[in-house]
Symmetry: C2
Subunit: 294 residues, 2 copies
């Protein structure tokens, strides 16, 4: 499966990198900073999911979904640049590369994040050049903004930052997980469905699938964190070794966490099977995401 995903990552990168701006003109530095961050790697999971859902519903004109695929990765990258800033997580490295503010300075990193965020919308709107009359583009743009914003990703990020070091209730933790990780996965899959002209009912099903996968993904993340800690420093599983940070595992225990990952995944896969189309790679991809070991 790893190889198959790598192949799809390559396919997606060939598409999305075509939308990057040229590094020229007076604003060359910020353009370099934007592209540096965008090119820092990753599996390109969100645009990959968007494309595979588009295929699931028999989407015909791939040119229509391509601008949104690039836009989604730009939006995601923009959030990483701002997350890494000194006033936020203060991270110096991401995926083994120096973070944007380390290379370009803090002011340029703030502007590169803003620039990528806006370029994401500019890029998504290029779908109108492909099909000027297509009403689904407006729907897709609305979802894109909603799921990224204060009732989506940024909302989750805000509560996470605000509650740092404080104990969380289960409801609060699920709220953060759902928005911070889940919202863009939902948006990616929903936009793929919308642009492929899926029915409203099917778009809702896709949202539910994405929401379950997002949660399972994040719980698995919490599990891997604890297991990683255990291997590395020998603390017992379920301990609060991460600066008292509340995690799914600290709230529910490791066994229940494993069980919940399985439950959410099964529900997602069951819903996927209930749809008319078939996309075996998408199914395997969703299962690989939540069953990953690192």
């Amino acid at each position: 499966m790893e190889l198959q995903i790598a192949k799809h990552t390559k396919e997606v990168e060939e598409i999305i990198c075509r939308f990057l701006p040229k590094e020229e003109g007076y604003q060359k530095t910020v353009l370099s900073a934007m592209n540096y961050s965008f090119n820092a790697g990753g599996k390109r999971l969100r645009p990959m999911l968007m494309l595979e859902v588009f295929r699931l519903f028999g989407g015909k004109n791939i040119k229509l979904v391509e601008p949104f695929m690039a836009a989604m990765e730009m939006l995601h990258t923009s959030s990483l640049i701002h997350d890494d800033l000194p006033a936020m997580d203060n991270d110096e490295y991401r995926r083994g590369k120096k973070t944007t503010h380390i290379v370009y300075g803090e002011a340029m990193a703030i502007l590169a994040g803003d620039g990528l965020l806006l370029y994401a919308f500019e890029t998504a709107a290029k779908a109108y050049e492909v099909e000027p009359e297509n009403k689904n583009i407006g729907k897709a743009l609305s979802i894109f903004a909603q799921k990224a914003g204060i009732y989506g990703m940024v909302g989750g990020q805000t509560v996470d930052v605000e509650m740092e070091g404080k104990p969380l209730s289960q409801e609060q933790l699920l709220f953060i997980h759902h928005l911070k990780t889940g919202a863009l996965i939902e948006a990616s899959m929903m936009i793929g469905a919308i642009l492929a002209e899926a029915s409203d009912e099917d778009v809702l099903k896709i949202q539910k699938i994405a929401s379950n996968i997002g949660l399972a993904f994040q719980i698995q993340d919490d599990i891997l964190d604890v297991m990683g800690d255990e291997e590395m420093i020998g603390k017992p599983v379920g301990s609060d070794c991460k600066n008292n940070k509340t995690t799914y595992v600290s709230l529910k225990g490791i066994e229940q966490s494993h069980a919940d990952v399985e439950r959410y995944t099964n529900e997602a896969v069951g819903l996927l099977d209930s749809l008319h189309g078939a996309n075996e790679f998408l199914k395997s991809l969703l299962m690989a995401l939540v069953n990953r070991k690192k």
Copy 2:
């Protein structure tokens, strides 16, 4: 004229404030920070220009332009929040009120800026709820993103930050003035025209008017800066008292600057007169903007 503008500011505020998010839920703090910044005042010039151009072209359904008016002010406010950050201009006060990062902390200010930027797009897309079939909404959204982004406002801001303390060529200064101040004025007026179903030719004329007004406005700003300094600290007009900052006045001298404000304004007003419609308030507003004394 001051009174007339104040009346219009009130009219615009009644419209745009209806689009502000409710301060509730887990993300209440960032919502408060967003609204705090939005409510810090100002003439609401950009949405006012948008509305008056919409009226100039006989736009019928005001409900269509309202979401874009609110969105434009959110976008503008978002840029002010990030501009004021310690890593940028490091300003503690704006319009006599403490800046967002002083009141809410730096992390919340970064997120409030991101949140407002995204909420601007979410809000603009609400125009689809008013007229789902209207193709001009897509055009307006594209202009909105382009003029805000790296080839618009953020681009100008980036070059301004990067060149701080260094001497600028006339071309560089005009580039910054054109993008940093001009781009959103262009977008505001163009979107008003587009949503009122102005012809492509007229939208181009409006862009030219806005571009001239933006430049005249910024040159006047430079003139007022120098005159303010002269009154306060007795330095000669045209001196480089502002940390060697290159201004239009330091490049061209005060007389040429005055002449250029007049030239750009006349060109704008001439173009405005050449359009079919008439909007006397818009004309007076443009003249008041560039002839302001403070």
